[in-house]
Symmetry: C2
């Protein structure tokens, strides 16, 4: 598979694993190398696959319903390293309380033995409205 | 200069430009290629150097005092691309109101003609306390 298509495919598999709350599928998408990192919206940095796996397990345990619709994808590839920037349109339910939210994600992938794997996921909340107008600051 | 040292040096120059609110120094740190992207904490995605430059200009205009102390740095280098993950400990003042905040940043650099340049900056707020315990969700 051509690299761009392969990166988009693994990025889709990541969001499918998330929407399906499928820990096994999530595990197969991620690199398990020691350098892997993850930032969930508002969370502190998670380092290493055991911590990241545990975070998904806890998220899935506390989520009744989760659907992520990905838009505004951009893909950058250099050798065996790629990153995807995208908008996550999230619908979720906790205790039958449905919520929608928007997040921005930077996903960094590494090609290992011909297979692209996720090594860093950084997702952050986007403020409602026009945050540039609203804050014009760095906090 | 060895790549790791060179990447750390340009990462430091980025945070110095930010702390000094120096738009010219900021411009010299960034790549001006069309693919560059930036996410400030809570802001939507900015695409291309003109938009990113404008955002820094507006941030600096609205900030009386800004100091960023960077901790927990990790550096990853793959050929001519590198990324740095770090914690930004921010002290800032707007209208003489001093605030502190913590953000997590993913900074992606590209080596162009022997010079490392910033191509993507993604910074997001970290919740106070233990956000894993607090939210255990993806929003």
């Amino acid at each position: 598979m051509e690299d761009r298509a392969a990166v988009l495919e693994v990025n889709s598999r990541f969001y499918n694993a998330l929407s399906n709350q499928d820990l096994e599928a999530m595990s197969s998408v991620w690199s398990h190398e020691p350098w892997v990192r993850c930032v969930h919206p508002g969370w502190d940095l998670l380092q290493g696959w055991p911590s990241i796996r545990q975070s998904w397990k806890r998220i899935f345990k506390n989520t009744e319903y989760l659907k992520i619709h990905v838009t505004n994808l951009s893909v950058h590839i250099e050798h065996d390293f790629a990153w995807v920037i995208c908008t996550e349109n999230i619908t979720s339910a906790h205790a039958a309380d449905y919520q929608t939210a928007t997040a921005l994600a930077t996903n960094i992938f590494r090609k290992v033995q011909g297979q692209w794997l996720l090594g860093h996921h950084h997702a952050s909340p986007v403020s409602v409205g026009d945050p540039v107008q609203a804050s014009e600051s760095i906090q």
